[in-house]
């Protein structure tokens, strides 16, 4: 179907089902129950799942396939956001032109940065991309303030021209991003028994784009181009001596992944029309590296899983506080209860980044293939008991 083989089709279908039914899947607990705090089915968080999913899918096309580790990819995300917000200011609140511009601008920057950075490989490439991103961050924060809004970020105002729309709404407010009249922020609630499910326009719009982005990445993975990229990671020397020029291939991969990042940035601005320089900082670049590795570098589904995983736990962990911990461990004797809470305390709430850092190290050390490899290992362990493992010698195509 759609030019995919059976395995890839089912993978795509899984992603489609998961994203379309996310409002149900992510809200398993009835409203008002003690577990309701673990629900993740509200629009803001769900939007972040898919937007960072797009970002990570794109990053994986570069890092997963070619092995070139970029430490400056957040710059493209930031550029995308700025581009989109400018479109809202000048043209109007329709998200489509904003997103198109975001992708184009990010792509142009990627061409320039990629052209220079890709003249080196390995750690030098990482440092070059890092240097470019830091440079852009520093500029966005200071001298480029007229374009970027500097420290406060770029925001919409009532005085923006918006040639194809209105500068302000009838009520004198700043208009909100929309797709041909459908406001991104509008939601419908569905109440079934004790459950409340929220369907948000912005989420479904982003989800559809992510499905498209995911489909495109499958096609790239299975294409001759994708194979060349894997060949570059495997043995660039042999590739040159086989008559192929690695540079345009890596540059194309870099630009594609930069455009994915721009797309994510544009979507982010479409959900909440402001853009700030902190989106471009190198810790933000580190985050997408982390998502990709955690999910499984070079696998199709990995980056999506990684992005979802990190954004989910970021949200949940930051919400847990000492009171909740005390409730959980109330069954323990008093002294022990306090002790356990004391031990866990640094890892929750604002300590989420600590947990993340530890998780990151553990994955790199013990599970370089990420969650996907973890899943495969578990599956193999179960299978291994049932039948002899006959496929060890065969290649496991990337899932």
């Amino acid at each position: 179907m759609l030019g995919l083989n059976k395995k890839d089709t089912s993978l795509l279908l899984i992603v489609v089902v998961l994203t379309l039914f996310a409002p149900f899947i992510l809200n398993p607990f009835p409203e008002g129950s003690a577990m309701a705090q673990f629900n993740a089915g509200y629009p803001d968080l769900m939007q972040r799942f898919v937007i960072f999913g797009i970002f990570a899918i794109g990053f994986n096309i570069l890092f997963g396939l070619t092995g070139y580790l970029s430490f400056g990819h957040a710059a493209f995300l930031g550029i995308g956001s700025y581009g989109a917000v400018w479109m809202f200011k000048i043209l109007g609140m329709n998200v489509l032109p904003a997103i198109v511009l975001a992708v184009i601008v990010a792509g142009l920057f990627a061409v320039v940065i990629g052209y220079v950075s890709l003249r080196r490989s390995g750690i030098y490439f990482s440092i070059l991309t890092l240097a470019f991103a830091q440079m852009m961050f520093a500029l966005a924060y200071s001298v480029l303030t007229p374009i970027t809004g500097g420290e406060t970020g770029l925001q919409l105002t009532l005085n923006d021209p918006r040639i194809l729309g209105a500068s302000q709404t009838a009520g004198g407010n700043i208009p909100v991003p929309s797709l041909f009249g459908m406001e991104m922020r509008s939601s419908t609630d569905l109440e079934i028994a004790g459950w409340v499910f929220t369907f948000n326009v912005g989420y479904y719009f982003s989800a559809l784009i992510m499905i498209l982005a995911f489909y495109l990445s499958i096609r790239i993975f299975r294409s001759p181009f994708g194979m060349m990229l894997r060949a570059i990671k495997s043995n660039q020397n042999r590739l040159s001596y086989t008559g192929l020029n690695p540079r345009p291939y890596t540059l194309a991969a870099f630009v594609i992944s930069g455009m994915y990042a721009g797309l994510a940035g544009g979507l982010m601005a479409s959900m909440d029309p402001l853009a700030g320089a902190e989106r471009m900082q190198w810790t933000a670049s580190g985050e997408v590296v982390l998502m990709t590795i955690l999910g499984g570098t070079g696998t199709l589904i990995g980056p999506v899983l990684g992005a979802g995983f990190i954004k989910y736990f970021e949200n949940i962990f930051s919400k847990i506080n000492d009171n909740i911990l005390h409730q959980w461990f109330a069954f323990l004797p008093d002294g022990l209860e306090d002790f356990v809470v004391f031990i866990i305390h640094p890892f929750i709430g604002k300590g989420w980044h600590l947990t993340l850092g530890i998780l990151f190290m553990l994955v790199v050390i013990f599970l370089p293939g990420g969650l996907v490899e973890g899943g495969q290992r578990i599956r193999k362990a179960i299978k291994g008991k049932k039948a002899d493992d006959t496929e060890t010698a065969k290649t496991e195509p990337a899932e």
């Binding site: 092995g67 580790l69 430490f71 220079v116 003249r119 080196r120 490989s121 390995g122 750690i123 030098y124 990482s126 440092i127 070059l128 890092l130 240097a131 470019f132 830091q134 440079m135 520093a138 500029l139 924060y141 200071s142 001298v143 480029l144 190198w282 810790t283 580190g286 590296v289 590795i293 640094p346 300590g351 980044h353 600590l354 993340l356 850092g357 530890i358 990151f360 190290m361 790199v364 050390i365 370089p368």
Partner: protein
């Protein structure tokens, strides 16, 4: 002329910090072949050693002063640091005043220990892995270390003053024959510069004149051969890692009066130090020092009013710009050996 001298002086303290961190980075890269993204965190830990010592010295107990009352008429509580009651008010106050220099002694064993634990516990297992994996795992470690510090010390910068004796500024211009007050330089920055020169000199002397250093240098040149000689190079490399950690830590300790330490200072300096290492040449010790000072001074020149008016924002990006140009035209850096990661 005086403006130029002033900018050179201004560049020295930042340059010293770059040089000290870059020295450790390149030492680790040259000996262990590891790209350590957690090196900035070591700089930060050093700075927080100074903060910790100052907090310890300031630990106080409360007594009630029978002769005084506060404005409500209650007896006044007076805080007395323990050190003042143990060593007498004057010695105690001096100890507190000198907490930053004292932290040098306090931090050396701590940094050595942190370095050795880091190398034995984590880095050792990554010698054979790809550079990308090394970057990733040390990046994770850097996050962990910085979050731990944030947890205990909070997110805000903690002012840690220099001893009173070094407060104020030195009229450098008057000393070398210019008009007074044209070139003014804070005493502590001068101290920092001289301190870093001593440390850098110490590291070079150690590598140059001790047998230990000789073996390490031989190991940097050709690890396998040295291993074949039956010398336990691994143990020495562990010690080198501890040493690099101590150098970064000391750089951090002494930097606290210049910039109040915060939890993300390590990351801020790391990126720049990496750039410094690349400009100086991966694995080249003199290159790291030279590039550190050079870039520090260059940055301060770029911050001059006249330059900024000419090219806005240049002060923010000059270092990166230089690094990009160097990487593209001379990938082995200013003083890097030919063939070292030149690809």
């Amino acid at each position: 002329m005086d403006a130029i001298i002033l900018q050179i002086l201004n560049g020295l303290d930042k340059g010293s910090a770059y040089a000290l961190i870059a020295l450790g980075l390149t030492l680790i890269f040259g000996t262990l072949g590891v790209v350590n993204f957690a090196h900035g965190a070591l700089f930060m830990i050093g700075a927080f050693c100074a903060v910790t010592l100052s907090k310890i010295l300031n630990l106080s107990f409360e007594t009630i002063d029978p002769n005084k009352t506060d404005f409500l008429g209650n007896p006044l509580k007076v805080k007395t640091p323990y050190v003042e009651s143990w060593f007498g008010p004057e010695t105690g106050a001096a100890l507190i005043d000198w907490s930053v220099p004292l932290a040098i002694l306090f931090s050396i064993p701590i940094m050595l220990l942190v370095g050795v634990i880091m190398e034995r516990g984590l880095i050792k297992h990554f010698y054979k892995r790809e550079h990308a994996d090394q970057i990733l795992v040390t990046f994770g470690l850097a996050i962990v270390l910085q979050e731990i510090i944030k947890y205990y010390f909070g997110a805000n910068p903690i002012p840690t003053p220099a001893p009173d004796a070094f407060k104020g500024s030195f009229d450098f211009g008057a000393a070398i024959g210019f008009d007074p007050n044209t070139i003014i330089y804070p005493y502590w920055r001068l101290v920092y510069f001289m301190f870093s020169v001593v440390i850098i000199g110490g590291v070079f002397a150690f590598l140059q004149f001790t047998t230990f250093g000789m073996v390490v240098r031989a190991g940097m040149a050709d690890r396998e051969t040295v291993g074949l000689l039956g010398i336990d190079i691994d143990k020495r490399f562990t010690i080198m890692f501890g040493l690099a950690a101590a150098v970064a830590g000391l750089a951090g300790v002494m930097y606290t009066p210049i910039n109040s330490p915060n939890y993300h200072m390590g990351m801020d300096f790391l990126v720049l130090s990496f750039v410094v290492v690349v400009v100086g040449g991966m694995g080249s010790l003199p290159g790291a020092v030279l590039a550190g000072f050079l870039l520090g001074i260059l940055e301060s020149f770029a911050s001059m009013r006249e330059v900024i008016d000419l090219i806005p924002g240049i002060n923010q990006i000059i270092i990166y710009l230089v690094a990009i140009i160097i990487l593209l035209t001379r990938p082995r850096g200013l003083m890097g050996r030919k063939g070292v990661m030149e690809e």
